[in-house]
Symmetry: C2
Subunit: 430 residues, 2 copies
């Protein structure tokens, strides 16, 4: 059975690993990057606490010893279901089973001005763009003679009070406190403001009341200017226009206010559910299809426990990958379809970190919410465990230890123009 998996995120990678060296399977794993990205730590790359390579793991390395998994560095351009074929920017690939695990990207809700001017943070490279941007801005700010223009450079607006928004604002607040004044003695960082805007009346609205409340307290303790019940109407690169008509001048806006599924071309419009996700049945099968599946952030599945879809988080993607691997193996053995597993999301708890010694954790069973130093240790331990590769794990740990002891983020490096544009390379890119 030839299984093509599009996307090597938490779901796609797990599925490929579960089918690795299993008899009867030939697997092609497609991704537009040649590495698996550890999304939960993008914000630490953006704020110079971790190296991009620490949270990126080469896919070919994962499957070096595999007899049946092949990696393709390519972008999925189109699904041709009638021909059982996908088209990438490099080639056409025939499949018996196609698994769409292309995840979700930033949702600017159709606002092209926002998309042009705000910084998303849904890939390692985008995280690095934020890092470069901030450093570049501070390098230049001391030359600015106009007071209003200088203040605009010193204002950073983070939009979206989910885990990403909370984590990045907390990390920026710590940079402001511990690192930037030492690095840029020319600048007065008491003037630097980090605004966190959230449409709901609290941060981390998906977590329990106590954790939401704690995260708000932690953020204010760190000096983040938290503005709840606040929506962004527009951003022209100069001023963030709010729904109440107010404006915040800000040269940098980080957008973490919404995601939308990456649906490839060739998927019927009638299958699209809210959040630009693909409707699936309880087996993750795309509705109306025989051999196309969708898992993870891209999949929309209504279940008894989650009638409006499971949360778009890594554990859901990984659980779906686990179920799908079992079902595909049954299918390969031509077992009775009655034996196929149906998916239901099991919540193992959630957590977010705000800063040094500050994190919040919700556990489902026993139903317990806690915060502070202990939560922060749990958060770190769990994330270390989840990172792929002993070496990456070790390097992340050493970086964290270093940052913790020195109150420093050591990776304030601007690497630009990573790609030499010779003619034949343009060919390679296209």
């Amino acid at each position: 059975m030839k299984v093509v998996i599009a996307g090597a995120g938490f779901g796609g990678l797990k599925l490929a690993r579960l089918l690795n060296n299993k008899p009867g399977f030939e697997v092609v794993l497609l991704d537009r990057f040649n590495y698996h990205q550890f999304q939960p730590l993008f914000y630490q790359v953006a704020t110079a606490g971790l190296d991009a390579s620490n949270i990126s793991f080469p896919l070919r390395k994962v499957f070096q010893k595999s007899r049946n998994v092949r990696i393709r560095l390519a972008e999925l351009k189109e699904v041709r279901a009638a021909e059982n074929k996908v088209i990438t920017n490099e080639e056409e690939i025939i499949y018996d089973v196609l698994v769409l695990a292309t995840g979700a990207d930033t949702n600017f809700f159709g606002n092209s001005a926002l998309a042009t001017h705000a910084f998303p943070m849904k890939s390692t490279v985008e995280a690095l763009q934020i890092r470069h941007r901030l450093l570049q801005l501070f390098e230049r700010a001391h030359l600015e003679k106009d007071e209003a223009a200088l203040q605009r450079m010193m204002n950073i607006v983070v939009v979206g009070g989910g885990p990403t928004g909370v984590e990045v604002s907390g990390a920026l607040a710590e940079m402001k406190q511990y690192v930037l004044p030492k690095d840029y003695p020319e600048l007065d960082f008491t003037r630097m403001n980090i605004f966190l805007l959230e449409g709901a009346d609290k941060t981390l609205a998906a977590m329990r009341e106590k954790s939401s409340q704690r995260s708000g307290e932690y953020l204010e303790k760190l000096g983040v200017k938290l503005m709840t019940r606040t929506l962004v109407k527009n951003y022209d690169g100069q001023d963030v226009e709010l729904n109440n008509g107010e404006k915040i001048p800000a040269a940098t806006v980080i957008w973490a206010a919404g995601i939308k599924g990456n649906i490839p071309n060739g998927i019927d419009k009638s299958l699209v559910a809210k959040g630009n996700r693909i409707k699936t049945d309880r087996y993750c099968r795309v509705q109306g299809s025989e051999n196309i599946y969708a898992i993870g952030d891209l999949a929309y599945m209504e279940t008894p426990a989650y009638p409006t879809g499971h949360p778009q988080v890594a554990p859901a993607a990984m659980q779906q990958a686990g179920m799908l691997a079992s079902n595909l193996r049954l299918m390969e053995k031509k077992s009775n379809p009655d034996k196929y597993l149906q998916f239901e999301y099991r919540d193992k708890g959630s957590m977010a970190t705000v800063g040094r010694n500050l994190a919040v954790v919700d556990l489902p069973k026993p139903k317990w919410s806690f915060g502070g130093f202990f939560a922060w240790m749990i958060w770190m331990g769990l994330h270390l465990m989840l990172i792929l590769g002993v070496k990456n794990r070790f390097f992340v740990f050493m970086n964290w230890l270093y940052n913790y002891i020195t109150y420093d983020q050591n990776l304030r490096l601007i690497f630009r123009e990573f790609y030499k544009e010779t003619d034949d390379q343009k060919m390679l890119k296209s």
Copy 2:
């Protein structure tokens, strides 16, 4: 005394550190990057053995506690000697003393086809470009149906048999042997060729006969196709044309065959010596100038021991920085100019590494040349000592240990498009 230092390489950085917190000095250190680059290890970044950040150290971090050294991330555009002023892309800066330490860049000897198609390796970013290029090529090679075109992709030509050329060819040969066949099972790496072309009759011609000879043996042992007495006439991105009329089809050419000094605008043409260097007197003072100095790879100084100039290596730059710092301090104290030191290069020996357990070392006193495992250990120890920052030193060491034990280079990551081009960023870049 206001000292402007242009360039934060080995010379410029050392000078700034020697003047750090010295009374009477106000120092501005300019560089086009916000970090010091450890040039001797570029080749390991190119071949995925080290992270770019491991060999880059943020300049602002070095001078965080400085009271008198200011960092400017800017490119030197012009020297206006008559006004005691430099023009950068960001601002104008007045100086009492100007020190040009802008080093050297790749010399393509005016061949624009070469400059377009060949990969230089004189910065961290250029080293990363080579890494990205090679990985990208192998990702794509399995799709190539044309035999000749495939062979062209599998041929890498390194031009220049100095330390850089030798080190990068050796590292490529080890990638070919240990890493690539495991990563790309689709490809037949027995077909991969690494050509090293050198105009002279041996590699490492600046070292002693024995070391030259050893390096050649090591390279051949690793399977590098060494071609001495060979010059490149042209390269069109497809075929390397040699002086004897032969052609080597190669998609990738790494050019390490020459350097030329980075002379800023505003320096009199009559002061330019061979290798595009600036003629200085024995005090590193630019000839005919009162208060402009040049040190390191950019400086050309005739001395009794080196009547045709000192070698363009890090120790020479650092020794000149040391001498100049002493003289500037004497000057600041208005000491008698008779006390000023005159420069003479002291050779502390030289070394190069070819691969695992393979390096060559020349010591001047006692006059001794040796190679093999012991030389390799010395090479590693010395380079570790010279790397700036305890954390970088530790991470380089851990990476080396990892690579040595596992026969693996773990950093096979392609990070592209590092820079988000919003309008205001274009402004920041210009």
